[in-house]
């Protein structure tokens, strides 16, 4: 499938900011089943966009802009050719030993409730791939999608205890459970082409990957209870949301900040719906 992504992040400041600094993980890389046809990042102000690769293999852009700024708009857009790999990630260089992905982070720590759930699911299958699918199904069944109850700082423990959250929270719970069971797992941020025809979205998408012997890294999207298809575009991976966040930044001075995000993922040859 050839997908066209448009992702705009717009900050506005009631009181203009003196300057701002941003770190972006907004650039997908190619691997089997994901070919980057073209991709560009635009900032609506003059700045030098420095590009590096972080230790997890993500492309990172950093920039600083001087104000006064009453707004700051970051746009990422491009076209990606995808193929359905049934969720299996291939053709990517792994830079860390798998055990790194057993690390506990504040957002992916587990508590008794998560561990009990994971242990319970683990009794149902001895096969790791099978177990991970069961785990994904369990989380998809127990948690309800709700954009109002959590934010980007919500931990797996908090989200699981209220049983609500967004794709990020679902992914964190899956990661926390998998790591508790000794299965290396990580967080993936990216985009999703929605089969239901809704192309305008308020955020990117997020899911998890877990390591399966013989297969390598396999994606699991507990928010949709399925493994990534050719509708998924993988952008950045990390130990949790913080390591793969599309944008981490701050501003100096100013105030009254508001943020609006527009994401659209469409088939490249189709007009925007």
């Amino acid at each position: 499938m050839r997908l066209r992504v448009f992702h705009e992040t717009a900050y506005t400041y009631e009181t203009p900011a003196n300057s701002a600094i941003q770190t972006l993980r907004l650039t997908p890389r190619g691997h089997d089943g994901q070919f980057i046809v073209n991709w560009r990042i635009d900032i609506d102000h003059d700045c030098r966009l420095a590009s590096t690769t972080d230790p997890f293999g993500n492309t990172v852009h950093a920039f600083t802009v001087d104000g006064p700024l009453d707004k700051l708009i970051i746009t990422a857009e491009g076209e990606i050719e995808t193929q359905d790999m049934t969720g299996v990630l291939r053709g990517q260089v792994e830079r860390f030993p798998a055990t790194v992905f057993l690390r506990e982070t504040a957002l992916t720590a587990s508590d008794t409730a998560i561990r009990d759930m994971a242990n319970d699911v683990a009794t149902r299958s001895a096969d790791r791939l099978d177990l991970l699918h069961l785990l994904m199904g369990e989380i998809a069944g127990r948690m309800h999608f709700d954009t109002a109850r959590t934010d980007s700082g919500t931990s797996a423990i908090e989200a699981f205890s209220i049983g609500k959250g967004v794709c990020q929270d679902f992914a964190h719970v899956l990661i926390a459970s998998a790591r508790h069971l000794g299965i290396p797992a990580r967080y993936v941020g990216g985009y999703l082409f929605r089969e239901d025809g809704i192309s305008k979205q308020e955020a990117g998408h997020a899911w998890a990957e877990a390591l399966v012997d013989g297969l390598g890294w396999v994606g699991f999207d507990p928010a949709n209870n399925l493994s990534p298809t050719d509708g998924y575009i993988r952008v950045a991976a990390g130990l949790d949301y913080l390591g793969a966040a599309p944008i981490r930044g701050t501003r100096y001075g100013g105030g009254g900040e508001s943020l609006s995000v527009r994401v659209s993922v469409t088939e490249a040859d189709q007009p925007n719906r």
Partner: protein, 472 residues
């Protein structure tokens, strides 16, 4: 602890080498005079304003760390061996960090278990693959050493993060020179006053290769609420560098700039006394208001040297400590000069069982603990305390190690009952530059003021002494 090795007096009553004059001088000096000198010393410390804050103690937010006026003496041969061992130790720590953040050869060779590193909270994946100038990670180390006899030094802890206490070493010497000029006249005491110059030279030597010939160095502090703030401002003053907080710095195009009244000034080396977690809210804890947003970008771009490097804490983890003799052998193919205290790692089932059986004779520590917090001294604890601690260990064995209770050496100390032996340790400060390793002779001697106590930490009622290395 009866029968502990005393550094001044041999069992037959004679004095050990280096202590001959001091011993007879102490015997000839009336206690009243010593009390007077102590009062003078205290007055001097108060005037200097050297205080420290004790965490969890709201009554006495700032107090003077108790100072003992009787110096602790090391002879030149003793110091020569000790400093050779310290140098080897710090070189090994740097080699280890260089390795685990790149190829991980020591892990592949099965010397240190990969899990212990890669799952360690102080291992920073953000540092992986980053080539630091001169492979220099630990520019400032405070290695805690103790002795149990005349021959050997044992390393108790490697402090590879932001080790503190050097201001006490310098202040103690200054005060001692004022109250006992006569004693200094009788000994050739190696100077420590050049520590600030040595530190500055070390910091400048590790500046990024692209930095100007005379790099700009600043000291980053968490601010006045930090227990070591006095030391931060003291050192910045002595080094003649700016003392900055996170909000005084900003990142522009991956370089670090300091706000000054004359406009922004580029910084090349940051002597940071702020923990990794708080350094950069765009990389680590997003809620940190103490750090500098984007600092890690500048660091990864090679535009700033952080001293110490990010992620050094994994090397002073107490479980990693237990592998230090093997680490020295692995990188240098030589035997460690300094001994390691035998250590049981509770993460290993056999060791855990042994530790739980022998709690009454062991010291148990948290692997990432410091400052004497969160430890159990088995022989000094009652049954109930030990039982409660056993539960803590069982709940999270990976988090604990245990060591035998060492009969730490004693040093004569002026206490209420007169001059009496008290247990001591020593924290020499090891400076590793691109050019060489510098160690000022001496360090901070900490003394457990309570009779029989083995805990020297200032937060637990310990005091300090001036440490004399005799030049002949």
């Amino acid at each position: 602890m009866p029968g502990a090795f005393d550094e001044m007096t041999l069992p037959d009553g004679s004095s050990r080498p280096g202590y001959e004059f001091l011993d007879s001088w102490l015997k000839a000096t009336p206690p009243d005079l010593l009390a007077l000198r102590r009062a003078e010393a205290e007055l001097l410390f108060r005037r200097i304003g050297i205080t420290f804050a004790v965490y969890g103690n709201t009554d006495a937010e700032e107090r003077i760390i108790p100072f003992d006026i009787i110096p602790r003496i090391l002879t030149k041969p003793e110091w020569t061996r000790l400093s050779r061992g310290l140098e080897q130790r710090v070189r090994a720590l740097n080699a280890f960090l260089t390795d685990i953040y790149s190829e991980g050869e020591i892990l592949k060779a099965g010397i240190v278990p990969p899990d212990l590193i890669y799952r360690n909270p102080y291992y920073r994946p953000e540092m992986a693959g980053l080539k630091l100038p001169y492979n220099s990670y630990i520019q400032i180390a405070g290695i805690d050493v103790v002795r149990v006899d005349a021959d050997d030094f044992y390393v108790l802890e490697d402090n590879a993060r932001t080790s503190s206490g050097v201001s006490y070493m310098l202040e103690n010497r200054e005060v001692m020179m004022r109250i006992f000029p006569d004693l200094f006249a009788e000994h050739r005491v190696a100077p420590v006053e050049n520590y600030p110059e040595e530190l500055l030279a070390t910091l400048k030597s590790v500046a990024p290769p692209t930095a100007p010939e005379d790099p700009t160095v600043a000291l980053l502090t968490p601010g006045p609420y930090n227990s070591a703030y006095y030391e931060h401002s003291f050192l910045a003053d002595k080094l003649g560098i700016e003392l900055v907080e996170g909000r005084d710095l900003l990142i522009r195009d991956n370089a670090v700039w300091m706000r000054t009244t004359e406009g922004p000034k580029r910084i090349d080396v940051l002597y940071r006394r702020l923990d990794d977690d708080f350094l950069d809210p765009l990389t680590f804890r997003p809620d940190s208001a103490l750090g500098v947003p984007g600092l890690m970008n500048a660091y990864r771009a090679g535009n700033i040297t952080l001293a110490n490097a990010v992620g050094t804490g994994v090397a002073d983890d107490k479980a990693v400590y237990s592998y230090m003799p093997d680490i020295v052998r692995f990188y240098f193919g030589e035997e460690p000069v300094l001994k390691n205290v035998p250590t049981w790692r509770c993460r290993e089932a056999d060791s855990l069982a042994y530790v739980l059986e022998h709690l009454h004779e062991l010291v148990v520590k948290e692997v990432a603990g410091s400052g004497g917090y969160g430890m159990l001294i088995g022989p000094a604890a009652d049954k109930k305390t030990r039982a409660a601690f056993a539960e803590k260990i069982k709940a999270d064995p990976d988090n604990f190690i245990a060591q035998p209770t060492l009969a730490l050496s004693t040093s004569p100390t002026f206490v209420d009952s007169g001059i009496a032996p008290r247990h001591v340790d020593l924290r020499p400060f090891v400076l590793s530059g691109a050019d060489k390793i510098r160690i000022v002779p001496g360090g901070l001697t900490r003394v457990a003021l309570k009779e029989g106590s083995l805990v020297v930490n200032s937060s637990q009622g310990g005091g300090t002494k001036d440490t004399w290395v005799l030049d002949q």
